[in-house]
């Protein structure tokens, strides 16, 4: 089975729009939160968002959007994009440059693209309102491909002329972790030799606010306190958007192109809670099963894992569930495994989370650090026993696990290894 490597990354995130800035934020535990202007109204109870800097994509008209000068995007491409498509398109350009790919490497039958976003609730709302008010035939012909779930893969596959496998993934907050897992399979099974894995979200009012109805958003107005996974004072997650791209390549392609990978992807696993549409299993059974399968598939024993980038979103139920799952998987070795959730810095990127945090793991593995638990002051007693470093550790983790969980009790675990 061909081995699979991470060879390129691209970021448009609340903690930076390039790998260097993101790395600095992760090392120094600097968050990307702000009081989000559209939320500063008395009728909106949550206030803080992990905002994307340097981009404005609030308008329903893509021609109003602004983005850094280094990106040139034709109207022909912009017109069918959602904000998450814009973020991901820019992250794609970075990842292509970072992996030193040329056009012949991108647009060919053995290069594919798997993507995940929640679609664009803002544009769905806008186009449906137009449909009802102005009539069906006065609607933008591109309203559908700009707004439905799948908009991300439709746009990227067309814009970058992808000829290999392409698919969108929809398992809510586990979506882009699923995308990465299945992209690994494509290469491991020899069907493709290169895969782009993309996660992105709009991260605006329409994408985030509906979670308030579920009472899962933090109502904490202080950006320094709103997102604190595993902390006793946590009260919900902070929303964010952006886009992240991870380039996976086979060992043959790595050798042929002579590139230095960030990390190796060893394997992955997934399992479901079979419990509740929106609430994690209290004992984290699905998450534990996913981790166990991932370790087995990777040929790794629990005690070999140095760091777990947790799914922990800073919700009351979810973090405890994952803590229990970690306890059951790592048992006696629990104290040896450093655990942190970088959502304390970025906020919860929903469909973006899995790809974004996997990319963080790739940075940590290559650059030799373990991100600490930002904003953690008093550990929730229910999460006791976890090794939760308060500051970033300057040691290189050899083996890293990334957890992601989504609605319906879908759980994914991915395992990465440092290149020695």
């Amino acid at each position: 089975m061909p081995r699979v490597y991470i060879t390129g990354l691209g970021f448009v995130t609340s903690i930076g729009n390039d790998a260097a800035t993101v790395t600095t934020h992760l090392r120094e535990l600097r968050h990307g939160f702000e009081l989000y202007p559209p939320f500063q109204k008395p009728e909106i109870p949550c206030k803080v968002v992990g905002t994307i800097k340097g981009f404005t994509a609030d308008s329903t008209d893509p021609e109003d959007w602004t983005f850094p000068d280094r990106y040139r995007i034709k109207r022909e491409l912009l017109r069918s994009m959602a904000p998450n498509g814009l973020f991901a398109h820019c992250a794609m350009l970075q990842a292509i440059e970072d992996a030193r790919l040329v056009e012949a490497d991108i647009s060919e039958p053995a290069t594919g693209l798997y993507a995940a976003s929640g679609g664009s609730p803002m544009l769905t709302h806008y186009h449906h309102e137009r449909l009802y008010k102005q009539g069906v035939m006065r609607c933008s012909p591109l309203g559908i491909v700009a707004s439905i779930v799948g908009t991300l893969n439709f746009n990227l596959v067309a814009a970058f002329k992808i000829h290999g496998a392409s698919c969108g993934f929809s398992s809510a907050c586990a979506s882009s972790a699923h995308a990465l897992g299945f992209a690994f399979d494509e290469i491991a099974l020899g069907r493709q030799h290169r895969m782009f894995v993309v996660g992105a979200e709009d991260g605006n009012t329409d994408a985030i606010l509906p979670f308030a109805g579920m009472r899962t958003l933090s109502l904490q107005p202080d950006p320094n306190l709103a997102s604190r996974p595993f902390d006793a004072g946590r009260d919900g997650f902070v929303g964010t958007g952006g886009g992240t791209v991870v380039v996976l390549e086979s060992e043959d392609e790595v050798a042929r192109r002579g590139v230095r990978p960030y990390a190796e992807v060893l394997g992955w696993g997934q399992a479901s809670d079979g419990h509740n549409v929106a609430i994690s299993h209290p004992e984290g059974t699905g998450s534990a099963a996913a981790m166990t399968l991932a370790l087995r598939a990777s040929g790794v024993a629990p005690e070999q894992v140095d760091y777990v980038n947790a799914h922990a979103t800073s919700t009351v139920i979810g973090d405890v569930s994952e803590a229990r799952a970690l306890r059951s998987v790592f048992g006696d070795h629990l104290a040896k495994v450093a655990v942190s959730s970088t959502k304390a810095l970025t906020g919860h990127g929903l469909s973006l989370a899995g790809a974004m945090e996997s990319a963080f793991c790739a940075l940590a593995v290559r650059d030799g650090f373990i991100p600490g638990c930002a904003h953690l002051t008093k550990v929730d007693p229910e999460c006791a026993g976890l090794n939760l470093p308060r500051t970033t550790e300057a040691r290189a983790p050899g083996i890293v696990m990334k957890n992601s969980s989504g609605f319906g009790g879908a759980n994914v675990a991915l395992v990465f290894r440092r290149i020695s």
Binding site: K74, R75, E76, R79, M137, R138, S140, P141, L142
Partner: protein, 330 residues
């Protein structure tokens, strides 16, 4: 995936002229709708909405098209003639065409249905079309693509003397293609060990395209049609050959009617190979007759009165007049 833009619409009401007076709030809505268009586009739209005068329509239509064309291609619109093609020259795809239509509909307060839209190929087609809608005139006949089988079925001329592989015909022009296969019987002798398409045959091919136009594109009164048996060549003027055409070349033929007055129809014609000019004919004149559609003769297949005779008299390759041959080589 459904073919974007090709779904048929339900029939919509056609609104030839704006009904209600132009109010200040209409002007601000218009300004918002045209915010990415030139100021002159907005001015023309205001004038049209206030007066209903169709003279302002072309400026609005061109202004809206310009707004949707990539900036580096916009120069082409500045001094464009009506033959500028939307897809090939301006890079407008079917989805952009719909964006254009939706904005034009919005600004001119009219409705266009998808079936009508599909027939618009050039800037001229769009201008004519919108103008007819505004004035409440009947719409021009759409460009018809005519495959080889249909050409054979309607034409009085038949193989091995038919020099059209495919054609498209509108009410204002006809275009066709012919690939010189090398198997044409006359190439054996024209010339010895050097097959060259006779210029006279190329003129014949243009004449055949003009025949097809008369049969398929020429506007006739209801219930009447041009009879295939009545079409004959009468004369041509200003014929020049510019390029030697050989087996493998694909001739792109086009003709446009210049004058139509019973019983004569005069066309201008040209042939290109790729971007290269091959033959120009300033005038080709045919004579034709009209019959009742009900009494139309059954399409001729292989035998018939008109078979082989009409259109340009085709001299045997061996007797190609020297001047033409000289022109071709020079």
């Amino acid at each position: 995936m459904p073919d974007a833009g090709s779904t048929s619409s339900v029939t919509q009401k056609s609104a030839p002229l704006p009904a209600k007076p132009f109010a200040p709030e209409d002007e601000s809505a218009l300004r918002e709708a045209l915010k990415r268009c030139s100021p002159s586009t907005f001015e023309a739209a205001v004038q049209f909405r206030k007066t209903g005068n169709p003279e302002h329509v072309p400026a609005v239509v061109i202004g809206v098209i310009e707004r949707f064309v990539e900036p580096d291609l916009r120069m082409k619109l500045k001094d464009a003639d009506d033959d500028l093609r939307l897809i090939e020259d301006l890079g407008i795809d079917s989805l952009t065409m719909m964006e254009i239509v939706i904005l034009v509909e919005d600004v001119l307060q009219m409705s266009i249905n998808n079936d009508e839209l599909r027939n618009l190929r050039t800037v001229g087609d769009v201008k004519t079309f919108i103008d007819c809608k505004i004035r409440g005139l009947p719409l021009p006949k759409p460009t018809k693509f005519i495959p080889i089988e249909h050409i054979g079925a309607v034409m009085p001329i038949q193989p091995p003397f038919l020099f059209l592989n495919e054609a498209s015909v509108s009410s204002t022009a006809a275009n066709g293609k012919y690939k010189i296969s090398g198997q044409e019987f006359f190439l054996q002798g024209h010339f010895k060990d050097n097959p060259v398409m006779p210029a006279s045959i190329m003129l014949e091919a243009l004449g055949q395209l003009a025949v097809l136009y008369l049969l398929e594109g020429a506007p006739t009164e209801p219930g009447k049609m041009v009879s295939p048996q009545t079409i004959f060549f009468t004369g041509c003027e200003g014929v020049r050959a510019h390029r030697v055409c050989k087996p493998g070349d694909i001739l792109s033929l086009s003709i446009k009617p210049k004058r139509m007055k019973m019983p004569l129809a005069t066309f201008e014609g040209s042939i290109r190979v790729g971007q290269e000019k091959a033959v120009i004919a300033e005038e080709i004149t045919l004579t034709f007759g009209i019959v009742d559609a009900a009494n139309a003769p059954v399409p001729i297949n292989g035998v018939g009165v008109a078979h082989g005779e009409p259109v340009v008299t085709a001299p045997e390759p061996a007797v190609v007049p020297t001047p033409i041959r000289a022109a071709m080589n020079g």
